[in-house]
Amino acid sequence: MKPLLAFMKKEYLEAARTGKLLILILLFVLFGIMNPAVAKLTPWMMEMLSDTIAESGLIVTNIQVDAMSSWTQFFKNIPMALIAFVLIFSDLFTKEYKSGTLLLVLTKGLSRYEVVFAKTLLLLSLWTFCYGICFAITYGYNAYFWDNGIVNNLFSSAAIWWLFGIWVICLIVLFSSLLQNNTGVSLCTGGTVLLAYLLSLIPKVKVYSPTILMDTNSLLIGAESVDAYIKAVIIAAISGVICIAGSVPVMNKKQL
């Protein structure tokens, strides 16, 4: 346990001293502010553009924005934040393989599974923390400007999307233990998400695909209940655990 804690401490120190933590926090704070800001500014922007729009034959009438517009914006923006998160941490393992920094700590008695667990815990905690900040900021502004009460299943939607992020992180860990370079890790993670998305286009498979966890619109407007996501949630959770558990033997057999 002690080696794991020591290595985790090193992971957080690395995230802080290499500036990754700062970039992430700034990014998620920015997204958190942007969601209500874009919603708030939409009527004003439309007014500014109304003349141009009128020329093309469209008439801008009174535009209503509320907490729902801001939350829709939140779920539209959060994929970009997740992509940034994946890109920032795609070299979390591979950088250590390339530079050979793992060699010394492994020869000091750190187990390879502890490397996998420490890095996974770092990613999970940072994702939860940053996602939480983004959500809290949007929630706070929305409560100030409008009323969060009009949105259905808000916390379940947010939790479902958070789980999708966790699933993607498990993919990062698996591909990081399999591959040697970070481009491969990003491409394979993206490729798997794309594959899951393509599978979700088949009506019978749709409910099982973790990518439907990204689409929470119908949940927000109350058109669907959380039950519709249960199968995908279970699949995402099980496959996530399999990815992490599978990374350990892969890492054990890796020649460094």
Binding site: K2, P3, L5, A6, F7, K9, K10, L13, E14, R17, T18, S99, G100, T101, L103, L104, V105, L106, T107, K108, G109, L110, S111, R112, N252, K253, Q255, L256
Partner: protein
């Protein structure tokens, strides 16, 4: 007792056979020189000892305990310094040693005392900068400090002096010599003067096997005298000798080198006496590890 014992170790990279049945024993409290050409398989052997590389056959024992690939339990007896040690550059040397100490399960107070003691030993006691700004020699010295941290039974150094300037090399060799009191040192190198300077034992790795192993004196004695150097006072004397004895080689104007048996040497001496050839120096060429090494890899 042998700290390290390797039996019939084999390793191929594709079709290339790097190690083919390597046997090696390192006795306790020795400084063991592991000598071989570049690409002979020194690093491969060391990585196999550390369980970082999967071997294709053979067994390795550390303090009588078998080494398994991918497992690190035998590494608690080992301190390892790779040829180019890489550290987390955003840490200071004390922070890095603390990480290493915590990973090996040392207690907090122990880590602090031992780290400070070792940083003093390797001359980094006053260095507060992050590792990012360290020179190669400083990294090598920090590497030795981290390797000695948990008082290992065996210190493995992979070509610790190869990339350093003469001053840096001397520092590292002195530290290794000082470390002998606490541990057994196995270090690979192709710099033979380093081996002659500090090692008590050595082994030559060639063609994937140990071609020769023993104490430095034993190894030196394995080779008979390499020949003689004869330096004459004047050039004409050297000319005469060369004309008479075809197998003499000229290295300088008045200096001749002779390789061969004693009989041949005495006949040259007889000729020198009979013809009253003025000689300045006659010197026996001492067998060196270098000549032995060259003979081994021939």
């Amino acid at each position: 007792m042998d700290v390290l014992a390797i039996r019939n170790l084999k390793k191929n990279f594709g079709s290339k056979k790097v190690l083919c049945g390597l046997d090696l024993s390192v006795p306790e409290h020795s400084i063991f020189g592991f000598i071989g050409k570049n690409g002979a398989g020194k690093t491969t052997t060391m990585k196999a000892i550390l369980g970082l590389l999967k071997s294709d056959g053979g067994k390795i024992y550390i303090m009588g305990e078998k080494v398994h690939f991918g497992k690190t339990s035998t590494n608690r007896h080992i301190g390892y310094l790779p040829d180019v040690p890489e550290f987390y550059s955003y840490m200071t040397s004390l922070e890095y040693l603390t990480l290493c100490g915590e990973v090996c399960g040392m207690d907090k107070a122990g880590i602090m005392t031992r780290s400070k003691e070792l940083l003093e030993l390797v001359g980094l006691g006053q260095e507060g900068r992050r590792i990012k700004g360290f020179s190669r020699g400083m990294k090598q010295r920090l590497g030795i400090a981290q390797a000695l941290l948990n008082r290992p039974k065996l210190l493995i150094c992979d070509e610790p002096t190869s990339a350093l300037d003469p001053a840096g090399r001397k520092e590292i060799l002195d530290i290794l010599l000082a470390a002998k009191e606490q541990t057994t040192v196995l270090f690979s190198t192709h710099i033979l003067s380093d081996v002659e300077r500090i090692c008590t034992e050595a082994a030559f790795l060639h063609d994937g096997k140990i071609a020769m192993q023993g104490s430095i004196t034993e190894l030196r004695n394995k080779q008979s005298s390499d020949g003689f150097i004869i330096e004459t006072e004047q050039k004409w004397a050297a000319d005469t000798l060369i004309k008479t004895f075809g197998d003499l080689q000229r290295t300088e104007q008045n200096t001749l080198v002779f390789h061969g048996g004693e009989d041949r040497f005495f006949s040259i001496m007889q000729y020198v006496v009979e013809n009253r050839i003025p000689i300045q120096i006659i010197e026996r060429i001492e067998p060196t590890l270098e000549s032995l090494f060259l003979e081994v890899i021939k």
